[in-house]
Amino acid sequence: MKQNLNPNKPNKTSKPSGTKKPQPSQVDPAQLRIAELTNSLQLLQAEFENFKKRQNEEQMSTMLRAKEIVLSEMLPALDNFDLAATHLPAELEGNSWAQGMVYVGQQLTQKLDELGITKLNPINQNFDHNIHEAIEHVQSDKPEGIITEVITPGYQIGDRVVRPARVKVSGGTNPATQ
């Protein structure tokens, strides 16, 4: 099929108008051109003003954006630190080296907190699509919609979600089929 991209050529599918067109009045071409150029200038000016406003807003959020990018890159390593702590073998529980590594992990979490980054660990909370991502719907004694397990925690900077917490959600005794 042919696609006409020229706004001055009518499309094949356009229907002819039923009314008679009025006679064009005599308009000074110079005046017409002035009106055209004025309109273009106003549009350009407005566009520029809007662009400036957006640039200003973006500049203010650049710092935030930079934090988000760095945090996003660090997330896999942070997750793995959490997992390492979770999987601490029983026989190493008294081990001072192992304990030191756990402290390092805690230190990382504390540092994030100081930077205004909130860690979301929503176990037993109600599922919230704004800050959680459901990975699995599971059968559970817990009420429907309650988070039964956090697979990976989420992270937020202010109210901006950098990564939602990835969770398993209780379907009660009858979870949704996959």
């Binding site: 042919k2 696609q3 957006r54 997992l83 999987h87 699509h129 459901a134 990975i135 089929t177």
Partner: protein, 643 residues
């Protein structure tokens, strides 16, 4: 009239763009994403969710989460595609009131109504982004969409409150994004390998009109299939290594999926990557880790069959269009998967021609739709193509330095003003040497013209304010003026033809500036250090005179000695020594200044006015033989206008 936005309403993801300042800009959604999942849901609270939020809860609400609704738009219940989807999709598709409808909650919606929900979110996000209402759009559809499907898409726009100014084909939009509509006669292949589908289209351009000669493809071949092959490979390797099947572990599969996608992307730019997932699972023995190295060659072996599968539809499309590979003028790549070097290589091998790149393949369709929106909205017709000034413009200042007022590559028309002063006491005229070029020293740049402004009232150096203004109009004509702010006396010069430099000469000057950048910087630094030393000697000598008996001779001596030391080395080539001696004089002078102020503070109030006047006069500079202007630190005004 507001902006007409361009919308790529995709099966899996949608994107939108708008023309701004002659360029297409992708509009980010409210969540900051450049694409929006084409997913709609209604949760148990009756809340309607669109995009990312809908996607996040899909697993726990599959009955009421609608995705890939584009497959149903404009179709009837008897269409094969619809029948297949009825079996495949977790949500209910049925016939109601004579139409295909999907059930969400306890309500039934046509696919157009669901598409309208997606478009409504895009509209709202675009309005937030642009800060103005959005009521008009150009929406793209696959080239194989029939009239019913196109009309349904238009209806979806209308429901969403958008007047759809045009429905254009996705491959046509891609061609627009590459500016191919500017060419006369072209045969174009659009190779679109997206997340879930593969489409190939043959377009023929003539008289500004694109004709779709043929389309072909595979509706179940896309990037997701490439990911799946890699994931299965990793699962198999892990099972071989650790004896554990990760398929049953949803959490592990999620991490594996992300890691596989990341590895796939990395292998487009590196020859090897590592897939490293610690604590991916655990058994009685303890935690298990996945740690594998994957080369680009290994990955290409895995997916070769999929890539080659895209070539048969290409052959069929060419055959149906009645054209040979050799007749193809351009190939455009669309879709994220086309970033893969193997895909690009196979396409180039098949068509015998390198495909066009340069526009983000995920955004190229939305970009093209925005361009069409711009054309329809009058943004992009007979636009004044604005030029740039290829070389910097400025004047010669003290020490033979070239001081730029307008940087190269500044869009014209433009104007800039800067205030300069005199270099010598009682200097009553200044010569303005207008320079073109990016070398640091005036002698190395081209002089476009000179003029003199005289009648400057005799004053200490640095006191007069001479405003030098440069103005370049859209035709490249340069007007330079110099005005004495005290007398309003003004002189000007007009330079036409940009100094009559040819393109080759301009290029040479640009290259010279780059080649000599380091040396020029050193030369300029030396000149500026000498200027600074001159200024400071003048100021210091004046201060000592003005200090009179407020400062004792013992306190003045260190300054006098520092002046003498600096005068001796003023013309040396050793910039470090010069800077050291200048700093030393500055420090000692400051002490004298402190003392003078201390003395002043202890004096009666009526004396303070006189001292303030004397402090103001301490801005003068040493006499320069040529009587040229001194460029400053004393620039008082710096106005910039872009017309």
């Amino acid at each position: 009239m507001g902006k007409i936005i361009g919308i790529d309403l995709g099966t899996t993801n949608s994107a939108m763009a708008v023309m701004e300042g002659g360029e297409a800009t992708i509009i980010a959604n409210a969540e900051g994403g450049r694409t929006t999942p084409s997913i709609v849901a209604v949760n148990k609270n009756g809340e309607r969710l669109v995009g990312q939020t809908a996607k996040r809860q899909a697993v726990i609400n599959p009955d009421n989460t609608i995705f890939s609704v584009k497959r149903l738009v404009g179709r009837t219940i008897d269409d094969e595609e619809v029948k297949r989807d009825i079996d495949l999709m977790p949500y209910q598709i049925l016939k109601a009131d004579g139409h295909v409808k999907v059930k969400i909650g306890d309500k039934y919606y046509t696919p157009e109504e669901v598409s309208a929900m997606i478009l409504s979110k895009l509209k709202a996000d675009a309005e937030k982004f642009l800060g103005q209402p959005v009521t008009e759009a150009v929406i793209t559809v696959p080239a194989y969409f029939n009239d019913a499907q196109r009309q349904a898409t238009k209806d979806a726009g209308k429901i969403a409150g958008l007047e759809v100014k045009r429905i254009i084909n996705e491959p046509t939009a891609a061609a627009l994004a590459y500016g191919l509509d500017k060419k006369k006669e072209e045969k174009v292949i659009v190779y679109d390998l997206g997340g879930g589908t593969f489409d190939v289209s043959v377009l023929e351009l003539g008289d500004g009109v694109f004709e779709v000669k043929s389309t072909n493809g595979d509706t179940h071949l896309g990037g997701d299939d490439f990911d799946l092959l890699l994931i299965n490979h990793l699962i198999a390797e892990f099972k071989k290594d650790q004896g554990i099947d990760l398929k049953a572990d949803k959490a592990a599969m999620q991490r594996l999926k992300e890691a596989a996608e990341k590895a796939k992307i990395e292998l487009s730019s590196t020859s090897q990557t590592s897939v490293n997932i610690p604590f991916i699972t655990a058994d009685a023995e303890g935690p298990k880790h996945l740690d594998m190295t994957l080369s680009r060659a290994d990955f290409e072996k895995l997916v070769m069959e999929l890539v080659e599968k895209t070539l048969k539809p290409c052959e069929s499309a060419l055959k149906d269009a009645g054209i040979k590979k050799e007749d193809v003028n351009e190939i455009i790549l669309v879709g994220g998967m086309t970033r893969m070097p193997l895909v690009q290589k196979k396409v180039e091998e098949f068509f015998g021609k390198k495909p066009l790149q340069g526009v983000n393949p995920d955004e190229v369709v939305a970009t093209g739709a925005a361009i069409q929106g711009g054309v329809l909205g009058g943004d992009v017709k007979d636009v004044l193509l604005l030029d740039v000034t290829p070389l910097s413009l400025g004047i010669e200042t003290l020490g033979g330095v070239s001081t730029k007022l307008i940087e190269r590559n500044t869009t014209v028309p433009t104007s800039k003003s800067q205030v300069f002063s005199t270099a010598a006491d009682n200097q009553t005229s200044v010569e303005i040497n207008v320079l073109q070029g990016d070398r640091e020293m005036a002698n190395d740049n081209k002089s476009l013209g000179r003029f003199v402004l005289d009648g400057i009232p005799p004053s200490p150096r640095g006191v007069p304010q001479i405003e030098v203004s440069f103005n370049i109009d859209a035709n490249g004509i340069v007007n330079v003026s110099a005005k004495d702010k005290a007398t309003n006396k003004e002189q000007k010069i007009t330079i036409t033809g940009g100094g009559s430099l040819s393109d080759d000469e301009i290029k040479k000057m640009q290259e010279d500036a780059e080649a000599h950048a380091e040396d020029d910087k050193k030369t300029k630094a030396m000149v500026e250090a000498r200027n600074h030393a001159d200024t400071l000697i003048y100021t210091a000598e004046k201060t000592l005179v003005d200090a009179g008996d407020k400062v004792s001779d013992d306190d003045k001596k260190p300054v006098a000695d520092a002046i003498a030391a600096l005068k001796e080395k003023k013309d040396s080539e050793d910039i470090d020594e010069l800077t050291k001696l200048t700093d030393d004089l500055n420090t000692k002078l400051m002490k004298v200044g402190e003392q003078m102020y201390k003395e002043e503070a202890e004096k009666k109030p009526e004396d303070s006015a006189d001292n303030d006047k004397k402090a103001d006069e301490e801005t003068g500079k040493k006499t320069d033989e040529k009587g040229e202007e001194a460029e400053e630190g004393e620039v008082v005004d710096d106005k910039e206008n872009t017309k």
